[in-house]
């Protein structure tokens, strides 16, 4: 069970409050978490990563255990505290105007 914290606007879109928890089959990589998240909350498709390229949207960042995973390959395995549910995987809206 992996805990994921979404930005407020995406929590509204997914109709959840607080953190969400998801089951990830196989290796707990960044892409596996995103796939599982979008499968559970289809309205998030296209809002975190591009529909076509599956690349992270430029103004979103991924953090885990106080480390920035945004630029890591998406097949990077997340750290153990995230995998065992001690720490959340954070999807954060970048600080960028507007």
């Amino acid at each position: 069970m992996i805990r994921v914290l979404l930005p407020a606007h995406l929590r509204t879109l997914a109709r959840v409050t607080g953190e969400v928890t998801i089951d990830v089959a196989g290796q707990p990589t960044i892409v596996a978490v995103l796939n599982a998240l979008e499968a559970r909350y289809p309205t998030l498709q296209g809002t975190i990563r591009d529909h076509g390229t599956l690349e992270r949207r430029p103004f979103l960042r991924f953090f885990a255990c106080q480390e920035d995973y945004s630029l890591e390959p998406t097949d990077t395995v997340l750290p153990e505290p995230v995998v065992n549910g001690q720490e959340p995987f954070l999807i954060i809206g970048a600080m960028a105007g507007g």
């Binding site: 930005p7 606007h9 995406l10 879109l13 296209g46 529909h51 103004f59 809206g93 960028a96």
Partner: protein, 371 residues
Amino acid sequence: MSRVRVLVGTRKGAFVLSADGKRQNWDVSGPHFAGWEIYHLKGSPKNPDRLYASQSSGWFGQVIQRSSDGGKTWEAVGNKFAYDGNPGTHKWYDGTQHPWEFKRVWHLEPSLSDPDTVYAGVEDAAMFRTTDGGQTWHELADLRAAKGNLWQPGAGGMCLHTIVQDPRNPQRLFIAISAAGAFRSDDGGQSWRPINKGLKSPHELPDPDAEVGHCVHRIALHPSRPDVLFMQKHWDVMRSDNAGDSWTEISGDLPTDFGFPIDVHAHDPETVYVVPIKSDSEHFPPDGKLRVYRSKTGGNEWEALTKGLPQNNCYVNVLRDAMSVDSLDSCGIYFGTTGGQVYASADSGDTWNPIVSHLPAVLSVEVQTLQ
């Protein structure tokens, strides 16, 4: 008793303004989708409780929302706008070629006959259609065959912002793109051709016969005469009496013929409304006076409508999708400003009152007349 519902898209959410047929006392609902840009929302003519909204954000991209109860509740539907095949390239600001990239939905136009069918005009310019209530979207890709490689972004982006359906001929569609021009399909969107003959853009397009490249801001028609089109171009107000085959200028005695919206009175197809803006580099009304101009002669002769509108120190803009008319008697005219005001006239423009005065910048205004 008849009612009206005004759907307002703003930079920071959507608002629904409702009133009875007197149009004096308004109920304001919103913000819906607070914090998101709502470029446009519009109701189905067939089922007025079915609404569609384009919700977008620089952070989270594009979302499409659908309501089945007149805007009380909403559900997110499909937001995948994939160009058909390899869309190729279009002209960039510096004249080089640039790849097509989806950015947002500017305009949603529900079908006149089917609440589940909606046309979407997007940036970079393309037309999409759903026939399943917004769950899936498919591009009408032959539009790009109309010299898409020569289209170029306007200052606001290369957007397909106007979609007009011919109520007498469901196969006929008109669209407009900045800065490519106006286009018409006579086969339900399968094929398209430019309809820009007579448009003149000497500074931007030295070739007087250029088929594409014109910065059309808005097109409107009256349902009883769908072959008569009115256009607000970047500069110039234009008219076509042959479904866009050719255009003539009707700017006449306007104080300036730059502007964005244009609309037609619900009961008089020769009565047209525009909001003159000082220039392409000064997007506010001339002399700080917010004036709607009305022509009762189908153009050329215009009168300023000022009663109830600010006549000093007003420096707002009125964007292309931010004017609409109801079909009550007398016809109601509505427009929203970048200053967050939505003005209404319940007497065809003779007098105006603000419905709301402090919304975020208004991007779009659509009116539904409800029985």
